[in-house]
């Protein structure tokens, strides 16, 4: 909005006087809407270091952080260092990475497929990753191969779906054909997973496969993070660069083309980006559903549908949300609850609540 135009237009309507009015006005401006997601993330970040079986007080937390940054030794027991940096740090960073990656690719896919019910695994990336992991566990391969195979199988599944859709697309709506190929391929891959589970060793391999499929960031190592950071960043770059054009994909293929967009090129780029991010996230965390579906909805309620604003909001909210759920997962009970399971327990009611009150997010 140009300032000149703004002053020429009738005076803006102030919703109501006082602090409420200021907050409302602020939240309708450009950056106000980002305050809440940012606060949530910062709060969850600090909280997740503090809580757990060995509680770390906020004072101690600040002390070890300062010590780490400045190199000056602190006088706390060394176990605090171990808990904060060796045990909790990888887990916290993994939860944030996974959440941000799943949410951002979910938001991209929802725009791309013009459907708010789409999640990042619509094109079979999760079932592909699951099959890769199950295969690696079945073949008793080392942990690094479980991650590697799940990443590669995740990419391969989407590649297969895309190829299939190209073969059969004809003149029909390209996104519809993609979704249908995705559904078919997912079913096929799930059958593959079931088959491996059926023939796997029931005392050793089967629980490992099941546990992987339930999703968790409990066993993530610091070195794993470095490996997945690359595909996640690579996937994020095109989303950031093309953030405005992504909006046009939600108009549908013909209209976006009439407005000057090479939709087939943009579509394949966005699918590649979303797949790289999701496959990387799933390869370290296992299947964590729902995040890519509900977080974009929450973000859209806060900042609107424009992807230039939606992307940063989903990244913040996705990271904060998975971190929050993981914090609950590891503190709620004596035994840790799998992140994927708890996420569904928390996510489903949240989503229902969104449905009842937040229709404007997509209509």
């Amino acid at each position: 909005m140009s300032d000149a135009r703004q002053s020429a237009a009738p005076a803006p309507v102030v919703p109501s006087a006082g602090i409420v009015g200021v907050i409302t006005a602020l939240s309708e401006r450009r950056y106000g809407a980002f305050v809440l997601p940012t606060l949530l993330l910062v709060l969850m970040f600090l909280l997740s270091f503090a809580i757990g079986r060995y509680p770390v007080s906020p004072g101690e937390l600040i002390e070890v952080f300062i010590a780490q940054l400045t190199g000056i030794a602190h006088d706390l027991p060394p176990v605090v260092d171990t808990v904060v940096f060796q045990i909790r740090m990888p887990r916290v960073v993994a939860a944030m990475l996974v959440g941000a990656a799943l949410a951002a690719s979910g938001a991209t896919y929802q725009g791309l497929f013009r459907n708010p019910l789409v999640s990042p695994d619509i094109l079979g990336v999760s079932s592909g990753a699951g099959l890769g992991a199950a295969l690696a566990i079945f073949l008793s391969l080392p942990v690094i191969f479980i991650q590697g195979l799940s990443f590669i199988f995740g990419l391969a599944a989407v590649f297969l779906v895309y190829g299939m859709a190209q073969l059969v697309r004809g003149q029909s709506d390209p996104t519809l054909v993609l979704v249908l190929s995705g559904v078919v391929t997912s079913t096929l891959l799930m059958a593959g997973i079931s088959l491996i589970k059926y023939i796997a060793d029931p005392y050793d391999q089967l629980p490992a496969i099941e546990y992987w499929l339930l999703g968790s960031v409990a066993s993530v190592k610091l070195t794993d993070l470095g490996t997945v950071l690359i595909p996640i960043t690579l996937g994020l770059v095109p989303l950031v660069l093309l953030r405005w054009r992504i909006n046009l994909m939600s108009l549908g293929d013909e209209e976006a083309r009439a407005l000057g967009i090479n939709t087939s090129r943009l579509r394949i780029l966005l699918i590649a980006a979303g797949t790289a991010m999701t496959a990387a996230a799933v390869s370290i965390s296992g299947v964590i559903g729902f995040v890519g579906l509900i977080v974009p909805h929450m973000a859209r309620l806060m900042v609107g549908p424009n992807f230039s604003r939606l992307l940063p909001a989903t990244l913040l909210l996705g990271a904060g949300y998975v971190l929050a759920v993981d914090n609950v997962a590891r503190t709620l009970a004596q035994v840790e609850i799998p992140l994927g399971v708890l996420n569904a327990f928390i996510g489903a009611p949240v989503f229902l609540w969104l449905l009842t009150r937040g229709r404007r997010a997509w209509q």
Partner: protein
């Protein structure tokens, strides 16, 4: 800029819709495309825009074949107003109109201040300034249509293709859109629109193309082409075409009066 359609055949794979369509659209000219439902008007438009592959013949923009042009080049030459639809995500009217700037915006860029100025100008031109910050999904069908016209105007093209731009509008907005079309033509823009109302062709068209069963049935000035014989032939109903003089300035205008709508008296209806 001139649009030439030469012996164009169009349709969907495995289903031919029309063939042999030829006409020109010169700068400052308004061509009205009339014809029955299912006659192929929308399909023809999509083929001219290169959204559907032509099944023979070609469309040329200043002598360049549409087939050989990139999407961005076409979008800089031809603006397209589709029939209004509901929309999927609640983009504001402003955001929607800004999307018309796509062909002028770099691959990795977002709309600049000057893009916003153009969008605001078009929003004001279409008379939807008051709803510019409202979600496209929450405004009426007529307002959506006006927003889509503003979006096509924001493309700043020399050719405009409008698919039934008056279809979902109330009477006042219909007149406003027709006036907007003649204004565009006076600025040297060539406009081709499809419509179901022959009166609209009389009001703003320099030329009329009648498309029936995918072929050009008639072509010429509205006064030459739109006659009761033609209307009976194309639509199968009796219509009287009358020349009237307006009271205000004595300008002569043709209007169509349907004759088959019988006037039942109130009394006879009660039986």
């Amino acid at each position: 800029m001139k649009l030439e359609v030469r012996d164009l055949s169009f349709g969907y794979p495995g289903k031919a819709v029309g063939r042999g369509v030829s006409f020109d659209l010169n700068p400052g000219e308004v061509v009205a495309l009339l014809g029955p439902n299912g006659g192929g008007k929308t399909t023809l438009f999509k083929t001219i825009l290169g959204l559907l592959k032509s099944q023979g013949g070609d469309a040329f923009l200043d002598g360049n074949s549409i087939r050989s042009m990139k999407r961005r080049e076409i979008a800089r030459g031809i603006g397209f107003v589709p029939q209004a639809y509901a929309g999927y995500f609640p983009f504001t009217v402003m955001d929607t109109v800004l999307m018309g700037r796509t062909a002028h915006i770099g691959m990795f860029a977002s709309p600049s201040r000057s893009d916003r100025v153009v969008a605001e100008e078009m929003i004001e031109f279409m008379g939807i300034w008051d709803i510019r910050e409202q979600p496209y999904t929450h405004i009426s069908g007529g307002q959506r249509q006006l927003a889509l016209i503003a979006r096509a105007l924001a493309q700043e093209t020399k050719i405009m293709v409008m698919d039934e731009p008056t279809a979902s509008l109330d009477f006042g907005n219909q007149v406003r859109v027709l006036d907007c079309i003649t204004t565009l033509a006076s600025r040297g823009i060539g406009v081709i629109l499809s419509t179901h109302d022959p009166d609209h062709a009389f009001l703003c068209g320099n030329r009329v193309v009648i498309l029936k069963d995918g072929r050009v049935a008639h072509i010429g000035t509205p006064e030459e082409v739109i006659t009761s014989e033609m209307l009976r032939h194309v639509y199968g109903v009796d219509i009287e075409v009358r020349a009237l003089e307006t009271m205000r300035n004595g300008r002569q205008i043709h209007v169509c009066i349907p004759l088959e709508v019988e006037q039942h008296s109130v009394g006879s209806r009660t039986h």
